[in-house]
């Protein structure tokens, strides 16, 4: 492509990160992560459908330390994308578009997604401990 010499908008790195922009890129990032999560879910469902040996193998893999950390990442990504997605649906309806409300809903998304992740993994650890 031929390079045209014309004014460009400032590059990303000259901006100080703000809550709103960080949450926005995190929404996209978690969306990509969750697409990878869908593949792991596919693997787990196929293993469960394939029989006891395949299921035991999948449980071993996902139950290992690295597996658990990846699942923790998927859990946070899911809750974050869910909470921020509801925020986006509100914006689509024209709700909460002013700056103070956008910041308040942004912090609410952070609090909810972290809180829901902690509660979920507390349940996992209690249920897993009774295995």
């Amino acid at each position: 492509m031929k390079t045209v010499q014309r004014p460009l908008s400032p590059h990303l790195q000259v901006y100080r990160p703000q809550l709103t922009s960080v949450l926005s890129i995190t929404h996209r990032g978690t969306g990509v992560v969750l697409s990878a999560g869908a593949l792991v879910l596919l693997y787990w469902l196929v293993a469960l459908a394939s029989g006891p040996e395949a299921y035991a193998g999948a449980q071993r893999l996902l139950g290992s330390w690295p597996g658990q950390i990846v699942l923790l990442g998927f859990t946070f990504s899911l809750y974050y994308h869910l909470c921020n997605g509801i925020r986006h649906l509100g914006w689509d309806l024209g709700l909460g578009l002013d700056l103070p409300t956008a910041y308040a809903s942004g912090w609410a998304v952070v609090a909810c997604s972290v809180g829901m992740t902690v509660v979920t993994w507390a349940v996992v650890l209690v249920a897993g401990g009774a295995r």
Partner: protein
Amino acid sequence: MKFRAPLANVRGLGSAKEGTQHFYAQRLTAIALVPLSLWFVFRLLSVVGADYETALARLGSPLDTLLLVAFLVATFHHAQLGLQVVIEDYVHTRWLKLAGLVSLKLAAVLLGAASVLAALRISFGG
């Protein structure tokens, strides 16, 4: 002042020639995924540490299979729509972009179908 011809207004498709189809499908699947993903997390939590037979029984009831299939279809469709925008935003080499978008759509259908098939096998066995 309006710059659009009356015909463009009637068609309502805009410069991308596909109107609000992508936007609408993304929102529709998002709305479906709010209750479905919450249900899915609760269902997964009920099989934490469960053995094979228990997991099979808990995910294989007719209602669970119906909701699981709905969740999987919405998930793979929503993922395809989102990743499509990521490719469109960041891949600027024409053939690479086209190859990426085509592979993404084909993979989403194939892998989505595979996950639905797995859900049905869990329900019906075999």
